[in-house]
Every structure is written in structure tokens, then in C-alpha cells.
């Protein structure tokens, strides 16, 4: 049962005259066992917010808390607490060290987690642990010996998820985890994330520009624009009855299957939605 809270968080990049606030006074709570969607256009600061939570950049003002304990500007024990917040990245081709096997990558994560708990991994136990991690993301144990170069994008994202699980995360920040994947693979990765979240009880901050996916996966949604959080609420409320004009504009811009994009388009009879017939 853990809760990630951003309290008045601002992140500034650059110094002096040319600096700007990438994240501007954001308050956001990711409740226990929930999936919160974070949407917005590129440059709106959604990735920066996530990076601040895991310490890749530090907020200039405000605090990030896990279960009420601050984890920003972390040192020592606090830094260890912060390791319970983990992140999965967008690019499946950059998220795994190309020089290390899948097993080595997972083992490193296990070792680090063990050290945090003050334990040591024994040799036999660690191999079993690696297998367990791989199986939890529906990959067979034989993948441990494989180099990332031979994996597909979807498989890499599974491995990345497995590595994150090694840290026994309470919150996972998923930054556009499927936007680099083909639509056919996207579904399986998202299903896996949802299934694991339910099973292991971690909460997820799901960053995406794909509103359809956010609607599918998330319980609540927050909308960011130019570094500010402008709207948040239940997923149906925000996506069906948005309060903000910007959210409305964002929603209107999403192309929908079976809806003509432009009323004056080449196909007049398509301005009305056509019921989707595919299975």
C-alpha cells in the first residue's frame, strides 16, 4: 500500500536568463494500487516530472513523497527508499545495456535490491530469482543467456519490466512504454503491466500521449500543459467531460477509428461515425 505524492514540485532547467520551468508547481497524488495516466503534448513536462521522482533530476522547489516520506534530494536511507520507485522507458532499444546478457542485467538489479535489504545473493538463489523474474513477464528462463540485440522491441520492454520488478517497486513510472512499439505488440505489454500491477500491488504513473491507451488502462488522468498540471480526475470524467478547453482540444484532435477527420474530406458519407465491424 503505497502512495506517491508530488507536492508543489517545480523543476527548472538551465540557469539565469535562459532557464525555464519544465515543471511548474505540480501537485499530484498516485494513490495505492491505482494507475494514474499523465497526458500532454511533447514538452509539457510529463517526462520531467517522472524523472524527478526517480532522482534523474531534482526539483528546485517542492517535495516528492513516498508514503509520506520525502524522497527528493535523497541521500543514504532516503535514496534507498527512492529505489522503490522505478521507471520504464520509451525506447526499447536504449533501455538495456547492449553488452550484457538479459540475465546479467536482471542479476545486477537483484544484487542492488539485496544490498538495499542488507542481504547477499547466493549463487543458486540468484539464478532462480532471474528465472522467476523472467517468468513473471512471460518469458522463459532461456532468455537469461540472450543478448538484447537479438530481442524484439516487445521482448525488450518485458525484460525492462522484469528488471524493474527486481527492485520490488511500490510505484512504477511508465514513460511512453509502448509508443515505440507496433500496435500489435502494444496490447500485450499493456496487458502485462496491468496484470502485474494487480498481482503485485504496485501503483503506476502511466505517461502517454495516446489517450485511447490511457483511457483503457488508467483509473484517473492528469493533464499537463507547459509544465503545469491543468486538470485531473477520474478517467471517464476527464476524457468525457473535460473541464479545460485545452483538454477538450486535445481530445478532439485524437483521430478515431471510423470517424472522418474532416467533415469536408473526400468521403462525404464518412462524417458520421460508422460502427466498427471488425471482431
Amino acid at each position: 500500500m503505497s502512495e506517491l505524492e508530488f507536492r508543489n514540485v517545480s523543476v527548472r532547467f538551465g540557469r539565469g536568463r535562459h532557464s525555464f520551468l519544465a515543471v511548474d508547481d505540480v501537485n499530484l497524488i498516485v494513490p495505492p494500487r491505482s494507475i494514474v495516466g499523465l497526458v500532454g503534448e511533447s514538452g509539457s513536462g510529463k517526462s520531467t516530472l517522472a524523472r524527478a521522482a526517480v532522482g534523474l533530476c531534482e526539483p528546485v522547489t517542492g517535495t516528492i513523497l513516498l508514503d509520506g516520506d520525502p524522497i527528493s534530494h535523497a541521500r543514504g536511507a532516503r535514496a534507498a527508499a527512492r529505489q522503490r520507485v522505478q521507471m520504464v522507458f520509451q525506447d526499447p532499444y536504449a533501455c538495456l545495456d547492449p553488452r550484457r546478457t538479459v540475465g546479467q542485467s536482471l542479476l545486477e538489479a537483484l544484487e542492488t535490491a539485496a544490498r538495499r535489504r542488507g542481504e547477499r545473493l547466493c549463487r543458486n538463489g540468484s539464478a532462480a530469482e532471474v528465472t522467476r523474474l523472467l517468468e513473471s513477464v512471460h518469458l522463459s528462463a532461456s532468455y537469461a543467456a540472450v543478448m538484447p540485440a537479438t530481442l524484439s522491441g516487445g521482448q525488450r520492454q518485458r525484460v525492462a519490466l522484469a528488471r524493474v520488478l527486481a527492485a520490488e517497486p511500490r510505484v512504477i513510472l511508465a514513460d511512453e512504454v509502448t509508443s515505440a512499439l507496433d500496435v500489435s505488440v502494444q496490447g500485450s505489454v499493456l496487458n502485462l503491466l496491468k496484470e502485474l500491477a494487480a498481482e503485485l500491488g504496485f501503483s503506476v504513473l502511466f505517461i502517454s500521449h495516446n489517450l485511447a491507451v490511457v483511457r483503457y488502462l488508467c483509473d484517473s488522468v492528469a493533464v499537463m500543459k507547459s509544465g503545469r498540471l491543468i486538470e485531473q480526475g477520474g478517467v471517464d470524467q476527464v476524457l468525457q467531460n473535460p473541464r479545460e478547453d485545452y483538454t477538450r482540444k486535445l481530445l478532439a484532435a485524437v483521430p478515431r477509428m471510423g470517424h472522418a477527420l474532416f467533415a469536408t474530406g473526400g468521403n462525404e458519407n464518412m462524417s458520421q461515425p460508422i460502427p466498427q465491424g471488425a471482431p
Binding site: 532547467f13 538551465g14 536568463r17 535562459h18 532557464s19
Partner: protein
């Protein structure tokens, strides 16, 4: 170009691209910079570098193990002579005072007298600087005029793995000439053109013909190395999406290369050419020695061999200053040609 052991420009240009040379590190976040900001920052860096250079040149004398005065006179010199030399070198004063006087000498243009030549250092430099400058600039012109078209042509002919034969020929020829040290090339040129065929003078600076061999010795290796780098840079540019756009517009090939590819090459080529000019300056030291060229290069070597410390120190400042100035000029030129680099800079 000097055959310095620095790995970056001497060889394997395909491996090391200009990106490794131009960017010092990650400046991820920047907003649009202005010219004045650029001027202040770049000027500040130049000033800082000059101070560092002068300090290092000053420390050179202090870092010599043992007593520099004794070292310069040899073990047989009398104690009085050594004391006198110590006084001449200012070594009997406090370090701070010596440092200040070193600065004063440089700033007033009177950095003392040369020990071996018994004339003011400033006079030596004034009389010898022009010969070196002529040699270096002429060489640079030759290198740029030859290397850029050659590299671009080679890239255009061999892009996408076309014409493997030409690629092999170009790479091995250029690679061969880039590896031969200029002093060796100089020796070879002297032997063939001066000793055997008597086409050009053997040594010295006397009329236009006397420039041919030194310039050739200095420029052949640099031209080969730069042409290789230009080719590999050009191959990179020719792969870019915007050249596909140019081809999609069905531009004539010449326009694609000259109007669309060349400007994008200039940034990296100039950056590298700047480094080359720095190396050329160093290369003049060797070539001047071979051709008995009356420039600074022969002077710096003899000043070290004769342990003429005041002259050597000043020459280090002069050579280093020239290199820093070249870097400054290249950066300004780049900023004019490619405003984005200005922004990145600041």
C-alpha cells in the same frame, strides 16, 4: 599537420567524427543565445585560456628539476657565473614578483633578452615571425583548396558503397600520405627535387621557388588527412534526410552537392581545419628545421637546445597564443556561418 600522437586527427577519420571534436560535453538545455552573450562568453574563455597559458609558460622555468641557472650553464660553470645567471633570469626574486614581472614583460612587449643571442627576445620574434606565418598560411590555403573538393568528390563518387575500387584507392593513397611524417616528406622532397633534379632550392627563404618544397612538405600530409575527414563527414551528410528531400525535388546532382551538402559540411570541416592549423603551426617547427627556414620554429628548437629560457618561455606563449587565437577565430567564423553553434556554445 604535426604527427602528434593525439589520436583524433592523425588517422582513422572514419572512426572519429567531428562530433567528437566539437562538443565538449552534454549541454542539454539551452535557450536561444544572443551575439553579445556569445562574445562575452567566448571572449572570457579566451582571456582565461591566455592567463592559463602564460601561467603555464611561467611555471615551465620553475618546474625544471634542480637549478635552471646551473642547468643552462652546465656543470663546469663557476658559482659566480651561476649566481649572475640566476639574477639574469630573475630567479633570486620571490615567485610572485617573478610572475608579475613575467606578465609585465609580455604586456609591454619587452620580455627580456635572449641569453644565447644576446638581443631582446622581442626583436628575435619580430624578425622571425613573418617567415613562419607566411609558411603556415600558404600551407593552410593549399590544404583547404585541395582537400575540400577532393574529399567531397570522393564522397560523391563512393557514397552508399558505390565504386569500391575508387574508395580503396582514395583511402589507401590518403592514408599513406597522412601517415608519412612531414619531416620525412621534407627530406624526401629535398632529395628528389633539390639534390637530384635541382628544380627547387635546398633550403632557406629566397624567392617564390623556395616556398614550394616547404609548403609541399607541410601540406601533403594535411591535405590527405583532411580530405579523408571531409569525405567521411560528407558521406554522413549525404545520408541525411534533407538530402533525400533535395533528391526528391529532383535537383541536379551538382546543386545537391554544392548547395545542399557543402554548407552542412562547413561546420565540421572548419572545426577540424582549425585544429589542423594549430597542428600546422607545430609542423612548421619540423619543416623549418629541415629547410633552414628563418622562422620561429628553428628558433624554438635552438632555444631549448641552448637552454635559452627567456626566449623559450616567450616562444611558448607566442605559439600557444597563436593556437588560442586560431581557435577563437574558428569559433567566431562558425558562429557567423552556423548560428546554431553560437547557441550551443552559450
Amino acid at each position: 599537420m604535426s604527427k602528434s600522437p593525439a589520436p583524433e586527427i592523425t588517422a582513422a577519420p572514419g572512426v572519429i567524427r567531428s562530433s567528437n571534436l566539437t562538443s565538449g560535453g552534454g549541454h542539454g538545455w539551452f535557450a536561444s543565445g544572443s551575439w553579445s552573450l556569445f562574445a562575452v562568453r567566448r571572449g572570457g574563455r579566451f582571456a582565461g585560456s591566455v592567463v592559463a597559458l602564460v601561467t603555464v609558460a611561467f611555471l615551465m622555468l620553475q618546474l625544471i628539476p634542480g637549478d635552471p641557472a646551473r642547468a643552462s650553464l652546465g656543470p663546469t660553470a663557476s658559482i659566480e657565473a651561476v649566481a649572475l645567471r640566476r639574477h639574469e633570469l630573475g630567479l633570486d626574486q620571490s615567485l610572485v614578483l617573478q610572475y608579475l614581472q613575467f606578465w609585465r614583460g609580455l604586456l609591454t612587449g619587452q620580455p627580456g633578452d635572449s641569453i644565447s643571442l644576446r638581443v631582446p627576445v622581442a626583436d628575435v620574434i619580430a624578425s622571425r615571425f613573418p617567415a613562419t606565418a607566411q609558411l603556415a598560411l600558404l600551407t593552410l590555403a593549399v590544404v583547404l583548396v585541395l582537400a575540400i573538393p577532393l574529399g567531397l568528390l570522393a564522397a560523391a563518387m563512393t557514397r552508399g558503397g558505390r565504386r569500391r575500387g575508387i574508395e580503396l584507392g582514395f583511402n589507401s593513397t590518403a592514408g599513406f600520405f597522412a601517415v608519412i611524417p612531414e619531416f620525412l616528406l621534407g627530406v624526401g622532397l629535398i632529395y628528389v627535387f633539390a639534390v637530384s633534379f635541382h628544380v627547387f632550392p635546398v633550403a632557406g627563404q629566397s624567392g617564390p621557388l623556395s616556398y614550394v618544397l616547404p609548403v609541399a612538405a607541410l601540406s601533403i600530409g594535411s591535405t590527405a588527412a583532411l580530405a579523408r575527414i571531409v569525405r567521411s563527414e560528407a558521406l554522413g551528410v549525404l545520408e541525411q534526410d534533407y538530402l533525400r528531400t533535395a533528391r526528391a525535388k529532383r535537383m541536379p546532382p551538382l546543386r545537391v552537392y554544392l548547395r545542399h551538402a557543402l554548407p552542412n559540411l562547413m561546420t565540421s570541416t572548419l572545426t577540424i581545419a582549425g585544429l589542423f592549423l594549430g597542428s600546422l603551426i607545430a609542423g612548421t617547427v619540423l619543416v623549418e628545421t629541415i629547410f633552414a627556414w628563418p622562422g620561429l620554429g628553428t628558433t624554438i628548437v635552438s632555444s631549448i637546445l641552448t637552454k635559452d629560457y627567456p626566449l623559450a618561455q616567450t616562444l611558448v606563449v607566442v605559439y600557444g597564443g597563436i593556437v588560442l587565437l586560431i581557435n577563437l577565430l574558428v569559433d567566431v567564423l562558425l558562429a557567423v556561418l552556423d548560428p546554431r553553434s553560437t547557441i550551443k556554445e552559450s
